[in-house]
């Protein structure tokens, strides 16, 4: 590469020297490569001289230069371009934006901007164009695989669903691993109340319209985030929104139209059909029947025998597997993403107004997953002498329909749970008409599951959220180096959620009333409706003094000191009834039963004092020292004030040693150490009673309970015991790194090593039930993260055709160093006998489940009676959740006004549990269940253990798995020791994450509609997914187990991920 550049340079020089010298007038226009807009103020200079002119307001220039001259076009934030004059009289240049610029100014702590070179820690900024390349509707949906050390995944396939963001791996065992979102200097609530394992209402950071974001800056280590206080300890995502630009009003339209479909689904086996135990049984919800033979057979409910309600009718069809059966359960979704921005004003008063609208109807038939969003924002900046003020007002409105995933409640199946149980030969598409006499509640083919489309259409959840947020930010510049800043924000939202489940009861005498071939009735479901409102509030005040002063020729001081007061909380009320009086009418008083209500209030205050100073020496050595002291309302008096320091050092080698080389353009080393203290949630220090709700494994007894006609109230001592002795949790973060640029900045390398200790973690630790409690809330756990991040960006080809790429690599190893005293194992999540646990000395997030007992030679010990493996006494480790590494590869090719980009994303290693695989194994749909063609088999490599007189001997196993024991072999109730290897899967994936093709329309065309520029893009997201052969069941990124550490356990019958493809148009007037 270097050679190629040198050769071209020589050729250039050769050309120049051979030309004649004669001055001529040259004119031209300079435009920006990515949007085609003219750039005013570009310096056009004759190379090697001091002669130069700037471009005017429309990007035009006129200069007199000799034939043999080379014109150099340079402008801040763009790559300098040299053009030989030759015999040209018109030179039009389009400059490419420079993402690797030396004097890049970035947003750091508390909304303060700093020169990137002064930072002693890793920092990544992504710009609007990258964020919105594929028109995502969520804030970070377009950044997957693009930033080292940042893991972004869409956990569900529903529009507006949660985007899970984790910076530098997991460190908190209690699940508080989310970064803090900060928008224009103020904290932004990211939690969406109402979401749980079954319903995903999305995360609240997606309330921000990505179209109005100017850039996102990601701060990962404590040295970078310490000034944000407790909440910054897991990293900060700084969102800076667009501001008005002085000048005549410009109007920008963004319009994106996407189609969505299911990216990947499981593929059932296609050898055996409906039934159980090789027997064809019309009412079975499994594929344990005979071999599919293509012979036409009856299916579904029959009226000939006992199912009186359909008369003497019967469906028939060939007994054969159906192609694309599962994928056919889904439709193609449509997503429209439109926004308009208006910007303008004078230097003294600028405005920016934005309106965004999203309509997204997902892949489920009908509108059970419809998502609509409106965003309206106004920005106004006013400057009057030394005083300036910015005001930002925003309104975000969401309406969404959400489908339940996971395990059904109140006897009703969820759509996905019902889908998994459909035999391989039953056409899922036909079942869509759930009111049809053969597919309705009375006559759906099995009483053991519901028609999935019934569940989809008749059960549901709906949420409406209205959010107002904004801030006023005032600055008074006492002196040119001293500014007083006051910022006050408010973020209030009201969320209304309604959830309902249908009342279902098969008609008397119908197939599913027990008149099926198995005499099994469908358990009626009583119907349920819940109304919940939640109000969230957050007020943040900040008063700070900012200093920026050149102390002498060598020393420069920047710094700030301030006070921050934060007041936030939530207030929620929910009411529910069960057993509807009138089916299908979802109103809180539509029941014989009294509604039950719950109120939850949470309130927290924090006061922080902070100061930070950066001393720069000769613009190559920068030392930053800072500290913050927080006072929190959630810890006990006397223990609730805590201080934590941070410091970092940046050393620009190239400037320090005056290296002016075309090969090494820039070199900087970084080192930082920072601490953060964290408090806990409200109400975690005093023992309480709770209203009594007795869990019965399935179902509950809920007080008040009847006592001879009178209700009795009950309160019980909380199962968690608390203490006022809690101290703040502490994160200690050490980081080293460097930035290097080569060959005139065409190649850039950034690497980081970090080591983080998170100690005195506040969490609810399980304790012996013999203590009278099941958990104690304590300062206990300690964890360690070590990791490396590496980013390489390069421009291998420049000129008319350019190729830019960024390669990122990250690896995080997280280890548990300690848990509570006497506790060496902490349960983080579980499903049946599989558990996600933290074990002292092990990587954070070990997946354990039963395994077979092994003979000393490694062979599997089986029970002589039934030939099935004998289960290990304890559950054992299958692996952990951590990926060995993650890689991203981002490419952009540009030719004139056409740009093609694609992103590859690779994550290697780790394990997860699949509740989908669990059910597929049970019903015989998983291809692994066709082992040995379902003929009787003796478990390979197995032995029988015989103990006589204390001596155990092992002999060859001769007991085959036969008959009904074959289905049992694939389900956990009867073959725990063996089956979990089928359910704990490899987390590896390789994805073609994004492809974009954009074309900037020639001015000639765009000006016809009065536009100054127009850009058309085609894009696709999540286009292709490769999974390892051992996991052909489910995408490891999806999870319905939340969006924090617990979600890494895996999934429990969740929705499949989506693929997006579409087109967008951006027009500026």
């Amino acid at each position: 590469m270097k050679k190629l550049l040198l050769v071209s340079l020589c050729v250039l020089v050769l050309c120049v020297t051979q030309a004649f010298s004669q001055n001529r007038t040259i004119t031209g226009t300079v435009t920006a490569k990515d949007d085609g807009l003219p750039i005013p103020g570009v310096t056009v200079k004759i190379k090697g001289t001091d002669t130069g002119v700037p471009t005017d307001a429309s990007g035009k220039f006129t200069i007199s230069a000799p034939n043999n001259a080379v014109l150099s076009f340079s402008f801040v934030a763009f790559v300098t371009q040299d053009v030989a004059v030759g015999d040209k009289s018109v030179i039009n240049v389009s400059l490419a934006a420079d993402n690797k610029l030396l004097s890049e100014v970035v947003v750091t702590s508390l909304g303060v901007t700093s020169e990137k070179r002064t930072l002693g820690y890793a920092q990544t900024t992504v710009k609007n164009t990258t964020i919105n390349a594929s028109s995502p509707i969520g804030l970070l949906g377009g950044l997957q695989g693009k930033i080292a050390g940042v893991s972004i995944s869409n956990v569900s396939g529903s529009p507006g669903g949660t985007t899970k963001v984790i910076l530098r791996g997991y460190s908190s065992l209690s699940g508080g691993n989310q970064p803090l979102y900060v928008i224009d200097g103020v904290p932004f609530n990211n939690s969406r109340l109402g979401s749980d394992n079954n319903y995903d209402f999305g995360n609240a950071a997606n309330d921000i319209d990505p179209n109005m974001v100017d850039n996102i800056s990601i701060l990962k280590g404590s040295a970078a985030t310490a000034l944000y206080g407790s909440r910054g300890s897991k990293g900060v995502i700084l969102v800076t929104t667009r501001k008005g630009k002085a000048g005549k009003p410009t109007v920008e339209f963004n319009s994106g139209v996407s189609l969505t479909n299911v990216a990947i689904t499981y593929k059932p086996q296609n050898t055996f059909g409906q039934g159980w135990g090789w027997e064809f049984i019309l009412s079975e919800n499994g594929s344990w029947g005979p071999k599919l033979d293509g012979v036409t057979r009856a299916w579904g409910a029959t009226g000939a025998g006992t199912g009186a309600t359909i008369g003497n009718k019967q469906l028939i069809k060939p007994f054969s597997a159906i192609k694309n059966n599962v994928a056919d359960a889904f439709d193609t979704g449509l997503e429209l993403n439109n926004s308009v921005n208006i910007s303008g004003g004078t230097d003294a008063s600028k405005y920016f107004i934005s309106y965004g609208n999203v309509y997204s109807n997902g892949v489920l038939p009908g509108t059970p997953d419809l998502y609509r969003k409106n965003n309206f924002s106004i920005r106004q900046s006013v400057t009057a002498g030394k005083f300036s003020v910015d005001v930002s007002l925003n309104y975000a409105n969401n309406k969404r329909n959400v489908v339940q995933t996971g395990q059904g409640t109140n006897n009703s199946d969820t759509f996905y749970e019902a889908l998994l149980q459909i035999p391989t030969d039953i056409p899922i598409r036909d079942l869509r008409n759930y009111k049809n006499e053969f597919f309705n509640v009375d006559n759906y083919f099995t009483p053991f599951a519901q028609n999935p489309f019934y569940a989809l259409a008749e059960n549901g959840a709906r949420q409406t959220s209205n959010r107002f947020y904004g801030n006023i930010n005032m600055n008074y510049k006492f002196l040119d180096w001293l500014t007083l800043n006051f910022q006050q924000s408010a973020d209030v939202s009201g969320v209304y959620t309604k959830t309902w489940l249908a009342k279902t009861r098969p008609s008397v005498g119908s197939w599913n009333d027990g008149k099926n071939v198995e005499s099994s009735p469908l358990t009626p479901t009583p119907g349920f409706v819940q109304d919940a409102t939640n109000n969230l509030f957050e007020y943040d005040s900040k008063l700070q003094l900012l200093v920026d002063k050149k102390l002498s020729t060598d020393f420069h001081l920047t710094g700030l000191t301030g006070i921050n007061y934060n007041d936030r909380g939530s207030n929620g009320l929910s009411t529910q009834i069960e057993d509807l009086a009138i089916p299908g009418f979802y109103q809180i008083n539509n029941s014989l039963n009294k509604p039950s209500s719950a109120h939850g209030y949470s309130h927290k205050k924090q006061l922080g004092f902070y100061a930070q100073a950066t001393l720069g020496f000769k613009n190559y050595l920068f030392l930053t020292v800072g500290g913050r002291n927080d006072v929190s309302s959630t810890l006990a008096p006397g223990k609730n004030s805590y201080f934590y320091p941070s410091s970092n050092l940046a050393f620009v080698l190239t400037d320090a040693f005056d290296i002016k080389s075309d090969i090494l353009s820039f070199a900087k080393l970084r080192a930082s150490y920072g601490e953060t203290g964290s408090d806990t949630d409200p109400y975690n220090i005093y023992n309480t009673l709770t209203a009594t709700n007795i869990p019965l494994t399935f179902g509950n007894l809920i007080f008040p309970l009847n006592n001879n006609g009178s209700p009795v109230a009950g309160y019980t001592v909380s199962n968690t015991t608390f203490t006022t002795g809690l101290k703040p949790e502490r994160v200690k973060d050490l980081e080293f790194g460097g930035e290097f640029r080569f060959l005139n900045n065409r190649i850039g390398v950034d690497f980081t090593y970090y080591h983080r200790i998170t100690q005195d973690q506040l969490l609810s630790a399980p304790i012996s039930p013999g203590t009278g409690y099941t958990a104690t809330f304590v300062n206990a756990a300690k964890s360690e993260n070590r990791g490396i991040e590496f980013a390489l960006n390069a421009t291998p080809v420049t000129g008319d055709f350019t190729w830019d790429f960024t390669y990122t690599f990250s690896r995080d190893r997280s280890k548990v160093l300690a848990l509570a005293p006497g506790v060496d194992r902490l349960l983080l999540n579980s499903a049946y006998d599989a558990q996600l646990v933290a074990l002292v000395g092990e990587p954070l997030g070990v997946i354990q489940a039963p395994k077979p007992q092994l003979a000393p030679d490694g062979r599997i010990i089986v029970n002589a009676a039934n030939g099935r493996p004998v289960q290990s006494t304890d559950i054992q480790t299958y692996g952990n959740i951590q990926a060995d590494f993650k890689m991203g590869f981002n490419n952009t090719f540009r030719y004139k006004s056409v740009a093609l980009g694609f992103t590859l994303d690779y994550s290697k290693g780790g394990k997860f549990y699949s509740g989908t695989a669990d059910l597929l194994g049970f019903v015989g749909n998983d291809p692994i269940t066709t082992y040995n063609d379902r003929n009787p088999f003796i478990l390979p490599n197995s032995v029988v253990a015989t103990t006589t007189g204390g001596v155990t001997t092992y002999s060859e196993n001769t007991t085959p798995i036969v008959g009904g024991a074959i289905p049992d072999f694939y389900y956990q109730t009867n073959n725990k020791g063996y089956v979990y290897q089928n359910l704990i899967l490899d987390r590896t994936y390789f994805k073609l994450r994004e492809v974009t093709l954009s074309y900037t329309l020639p001015k000639l065309i765009s000006s016809k509609v009065g536009a100054s520029s127009a850009k058309l893009s085609l894009y696709g997201r999540n286009l292709l997914t490769w999974l390892p052969a051992s996991n052909q069941i489910v995408d490891p990124e999806v999870s319905n187990l939340g969006s924090d550490l617990g979600s890494e356990f895996g999934e429990f019958r969740t929705s499949p991920p989506l693929r997006y493809y579409g087109a967008s148009l951006k027009v500026t007037f």
């Binding site: 008063l543 609730n640 309480t688 309970l705 049970f922």
Partner: protein
């Protein structure tokens, strides 16, 4: 200028501090959602605790009892209780009973007793003590050893030691005696003070005393194999002291057919599962009922007469065409949960007379017991099951215990399992119930799906993982087939 800045900062800090002092900031940290533990009263704690006991022992423990006592078996081609029916439960299975009895019921009884002793009403002292003893008795009988002397201390002792079942029994008997003494002559013991919150006896303290005495009788009888002398002395003392025993049931019979308000086994097994037909009649019990012409059959299983051989859930329809229509256990939301039933009280009195000659004749109590057992389900006894007055001790005991067994399907079934382990009745069948020619109806037949070594029946639960993984004092695990300390 610099001085000025410092002054400004200081002034601002002072203002902020005085506006929101550190004290004030923590004032908001008292939960408005849950009351502080200090405000607890016996009136809210005791009913919670009673329902926790009823919810677990009459719920999932009852399901284990129904299967292990061979009243029912897991339905064919269905799955819910296979771990129980194969005797394949491990330390990870069914932990919630243990967890909730300790953290739910026992903690609340403990605090109720403390509050009642400190401020009354003093009746709660006896009521909570009896319920605590009953709850502990079931735990001891299920697990053999559990924490007692160091238990229920919260953070003060995170690793409570386990006590031997016998030691816990002795301590519980002493606790009951102390509570009986403390409430023998205290001031106002009228029902008014506790009636509203007493699901068991509506505040009738005399009935609580009878419950206390009957529970003592049960615990002494449990010891007849392991501690025969103590058992005999304890039973005799009850009679010499003129103890009054239960003549009606001690239990909760106030459940209604409203979601989350019904009988716990019904809520669990019927209302909340997607199949209400998991518990099907076992051939063991069904053949016994039919061969005896027992009129309770309809109450237990309805009109259907087909049954499934114990643990034969993997049989195909082709091989066992009657399984699909096997009778299901009749359950209703309003079914009671018995802690001790009237029949059980009489059968224990019969056994006391049979063993030690105390109290009314065994035949008298036996007949009262059988009558009560039929009355319990609204059936008529007729001339069924006469007492084998001329029989041997073993024949008499078998008659008493088998009748006790037959009175216990439903929410009280775990006691039938305990009694078989203590007495050996009903007898273990030497042959499987499928061996129709040789099988004697009612004899327990080893589960066809059973996974234990040497076809041994389960005798206990293994210590739960929730305790083992958090408490290093948990005893070494022994097989599920190891008898508990009082086992025969």
């Amino acid at each position: 200028m610099k001085k000025h800045i410092i002054k400004t900062i200081l002034a601002t800090s002072v203002i902020c501090f005085s506006v929101t002092s550190c004290k004030k900031i923590t004032d908001i940290n008292i939960s408005p959602n849950n009351p502080p533990v200090e405000v607890a009263t016996p009136q809210v704690l005791f009913p919670s605790a009673v329902q926790s006991t009823a919810g677990r022992i009459g719920g999932e423990v009852g399901i284990i009892g129904n299967i292990w006592s061979q009243f029912t078996t897991q339905a064919q081609l269905s799955n819910q209780y296979k771990d129980i029916d194969t005797y394949g439960m491990t330390r990870q299975d069914r932990n919630a009973n243990y967890n909730n009895l300790f953290a739910g019921a026992l903690t609340d009884y403990k605090l109720t007793i403390e509050k009642a002793k400190a401020g009354g009403p003093i009746q709660y002292y006896l009521m909570a003590t009896v319920m605590k003893a009953y709850t502990y008795q079931v735990l001891v009988d299920l697990y053999d050893q559990v924490p007692y002397t160091e238990a229920l201390q919260g953070q003060a002792n995170l690793q409570p030691k386990f006590d031997n079942g016998y030691d816990i029994y002795k301590a519980l008997l002493a606790e009951i005696d102390a509570a009986l003494a403390a409430t023998a002559s205290s001031g106002d013991l009228s029902p008014a003070a506790t009636a509203a919150t007493d699901f068991v006896f509506s505040g009738d303290i005399a009935k609580w005393r009878a419950f206390a005495n009957t529970l003592k009788l049960k615990m002494y009888l449990r010891m007849v194999n392991a501690k025969p002398a103590e058992a005999e002395a304890g039973v005799r003392k009850l009679y010499t002291d003129g103890a009054v025993f239960l003549t009606g049931a001690a239990g909760v019979s106030t459940y209604v057919n409203v979601p989350d308000q019904g009988n716990p086994m019904y809520e669990y097994n019927i209302r909340r599962l997607n199949s209400a037909t998991n518990l099907r009649a076992s051939v063991t019990f069904m053949t016994w009922l039919i061969s005896n012409g027992d009129t309770r059959k309809a109450a237990y299983f309805g009109t259907a007469t087909n049954a499934i051989h114990q643990g034969d859930f993997n049989a195909t329809n082709a091989s066992q065409p009657t399984y699909a229509t096997a009778a299901t256990l009749v359950q209703n939301a309003t079914d009671p949960v018995f802690f001790i039933s009237a029949a059980e009280s009489y059968f224990m009195q019969a056994e006391a007379n049979l063993r030690y000659g105390v109290g009314p004749a065994a035949s008298v109590s036996y007949n009262l017991g059988v009558n009560a057992a039929f009355a319990q389900v609204g059936a008529t006894r007729g001339a069924l099951y006469p007492y084998p007055a001329a029989g041997t001790f073993d024949q008499n005991l078998e008659a008493i215990i088998v009748q006790k067994w037959a009175s216990m399907p439903g929410s009280h079934a775990i006691e039938a399992f305990f009694e078989q382990e203590r007495t050996g009745y009903p007898k273990i069948s030497p042959t499987n119930s499928k061996d129709v020619a040789n099988y004697i109806p009612g004899q327990w037949s080893y589960s066809i799906g059973g996974v234990t070594a040497n076809k041994a029946f389960p005798k206990r639960m293994v210590f739960p993982d929730s305790e083992r993984s958090r408490n290093k004092n948990t005893p070494t695990e022994v097989p599920i087939t190891t008898p508990v300390w009082w086992g025969k």
